[in-house]
Symmetry: C2
Subunit: 441 residues, 2 copies
């Protein structure tokens, strides 16, 4: 029997700390990213967890031949730290010796260590395990991590409880055809389109809940903004007075998360030259008014008076930005016909709902609103829609035995990341996207 303690320290130095070792020898680990051979010396980029470390190999001070190094080789390096202002870490490393830890069988069929991986999106995704090694490609997902951390910080500070709800479900939240079916021990089951039912039930338990987890949509759309599995940032808040409170929560969440990103992910934001939008407040415009504004400004006749066409979302964002400076805009009070059965209707006008979308840089990234909390009201609306209330018995249990007034939203993490980084296709902000054509890798 041996004992394992929790001491994970070793003598390796992280790139962030080189600055404390100027003139000294350090050990570090990383992957050879790029080798630029000059006469008698070479620049070698070493990729570490987060940073790209600028190293120099030279006949003068390196104890091994340059030919020992190949790209994508994992090494343990011993080097002397030299101050170098032009490097992003403020240092340059004079390579002394290396220990080879693993090596590739062959070089990548695609050049991955240039500024951009110069291939089509299809090839980029097909070779995801290696194209993600590109410095800029991986920075996208470091920023995505930052978004999640920022959201969770907001949730923690505002007394939300994190929940884990099932993804194999007995019934679809939104219903309809856009749902994946599976055989569950002889029963028909579905993949959750959203944690909607569960987060509403949990309002009755924790008052405020959130979940950041995968959701599944069997939509056949193959566009730049659709994927069939995505990460949904969901929250639900009890004891609200109206749906604008939910927009207030989202505004605060966005302000604080973007601040958090700038404080902790400056390295990646600079690398990708991200323009972080300034947010103090977000304009909100009624759906009907938005339609009128579009008609008036662009002289365009809409074919769909109940929803926006994708082009209209772009035009509306342009217009709002011009008029208010804001890159975000809430559109409120969508038609009841376009919203699910749990959406609260506007008092006195059952044709519209106490709901909103948030558009950002031309794309809808959030859907939210107030939900029906009254049992009788909910059952009546379901019956009016011809739904079989019995199928929703366990969901309605929450309403039946008392549920505070509440509302919430879902935000698509990949869509938000894509618009924030000005990536034209949501797949570029998805680690391993799933679409109608793509199931691998």
């Amino acid at each position: 029997m041996i004992y394992i303690n929790g001491n994970i320290e070793n003598n390796r130095v992280e790139a962030e700390h080189f600055i404390d070792f100027i003139g000294k020898e350090v050990s570090l680990q990383g992957v050879i990213y790029k080798i630029r051979e000059m006469s008698g010396f070479a620049f070698v980029l070493l990729q570490t967890k987060r940073h790209m470390v600028q190293c120099v190999w030279s006949e003068e001070f390196s104890l091994f031949p340059l030919s020992d190094l190949v790209c994508n080789m994992s090494v343990l390096l011993t080097a002397v730290v030299i101050s170098e202002e032009r490097s992003s870490t403020g240092c340059e490393l004079r390579m002394k010796s290396i220990k080879k830890l693993s090596a590739p069988v062959e070089q990548t069929p695609i050049v991955i260590n240039n500024r951009q991986v110069g291939v089509s999106l299809d090839i980029l995704l097909q070779y995801r395990p290696i194209t993600l090694r590109n410095e800029r490609e991986r920075a996208i997902f470091k920023i995505q991590e930052g978004l999640c951390s920022g959201f969770r910080k907001f949730f923690g500070e505002n007394n939300f409880t994190e929940i884990h709800t099932p993804k194999i479900v007995y019934s679809g939240a939104e219903g309809g055809a856009n749902i994946f079916k599976l055989d569950y021990f002889g029963k028909e089951a579905y993949l959750a389109q959203s944690p909607q039912f569960y987060k509403q039930m949990m309002v009755g338990v924790f008052e405020r809940v959130f979940e950041i987890a995968p959701v599944f949509r069997a939509e056949k759309h193959h566009t730049a903004r659709h994927i069939n599995e995505y990460t949904s940032v969901d929250f639900e808040v009890g004891f609200i007075e109206n749906y604008t409170e939910i927009m207030t929560y989202e505004t605060k969440m966005l302000i604080e998360t973007l601040d958090f990103l700038q404080a902790h992910y400056a390295y990646e934001l600079n690398l990708l030259k991200v323009k972080i939008p300034t947010v103090n407040q977000i304009p909100a415009v009624d759906f009907e008014d938005a339609k009128c504004m579009l008609e008036k400004t662009y002289k365009r006749v809409s074919t769909d008076m109940e929803d926006f066409e994708p082009e209209e979302e772009k035009l509306l964002c342009d217009l709002i930005k011009k008029e208010t400076g804001s890159e975000f805009v809430f559109v409120t009070r969508y038609k009841s016909s376009k919203r699910p059965f749990y959406a609260m209707e506007t008092p006195g006008n059952s044709n519209v709902t106490e709901s909103f979308d948030l558009l950002f840089r031309g794309l809808e990234i959030t859907t939210g609103g107030q939900r029906i909390h009254d049992y009788d009201e909910q059952v009546e609306k379901m019956k009016n829609r011809g739904m079989n209330v019995d199928l929703f018995k366990s969901y309605l249990m929450a309403h039946q035995y008392g549920l505070p007034p509440h509302g919430g939203l879902g935000l698509g993490l990949e869509r938000f990341t894509a618009r924030l980084l000005d990536l034209p296709n949501v797949r570029q902000a998805t680690l391993f996207p799933r679409d109608t054509e793509r199931l691998e890798p």
Copy 2:
């Protein structure tokens, strides 16, 4: 057009801050949990986000009749704060007036506001939306949240990157029959049994990665320790020297997470009288040695020399606790035949692997180990197992183009929660469990 700012302040006071309002009037929101009527006055428990607030209704100072209150009613309460040592919040609230926000249609068919919900596990789960409202039931999941927050804190401080990997996959990580199939736009797809392939690929990108997300196992076992969808805490670390490093990481993660829990979740830990294990170091015993120890101590002949029977896991934990005081024990070097194709074999002995399980209070909660990073070695092992290497092309891309030595683990969140809280059935630590019989709610 209106503007939404991020100001979510209102005049309501959270239970944690009552102590600053002694003698003053406060507004607060909550759900009537329990009413205990006395003569001329009544004790009323109000459930808030996290705390149970002790209130007193009295003819003397309450401006509404007691009959206005029913359990499971959501109210906005105005009350005067009185110091009261015997209350968990240090205060008692003299109810002045209430505003009814929503009310149940009827009272719950099960008594949910006693110390325990006194029903069978089946009924407890069937009525989950309301049984979770029980103070002790919900505390289980508040502690589970604390575990996740503690893990994430550890990951953040140790430079891990959070990833979101797909749950609809083209191939099972472990293979075998225990996998859910679904129709994916005419192709056969599966639900991920673990993020194994993806986290290994991502070691080549971020060096250290983690994910806390659902995984799916179509196992037909219907036992107290099996559920078919669970939350897996996964991490993977590059540049390790051997698999004991992964155990070191886990030990540190557990020490820090249990400390975090005690610092931030004392309220729930006290409520459930949780005995937090003390961990400084964790004993590790070779699988073969463990089998011998069991044979010697308990004079028991094992029928399965390649794995533990559940009873053996319990006996081993008892034995280790008696001998070392530790409630955790690592078992190392499991047989190759019992480990997946990516498990690294022990140099010089291909019958055993550089792997481990972590047992805690009689139950396996973690499986981990070092993985094969060398492409040729991996391909050879797959061929020896009769696997079709072509099906794993995109996974093997990571190895082919260079992958650092690495290893990692998966920890079952619900199992860990259950053992930590001494809950006999893992379903009790699962918000909405999925098992062979249960798909709803």
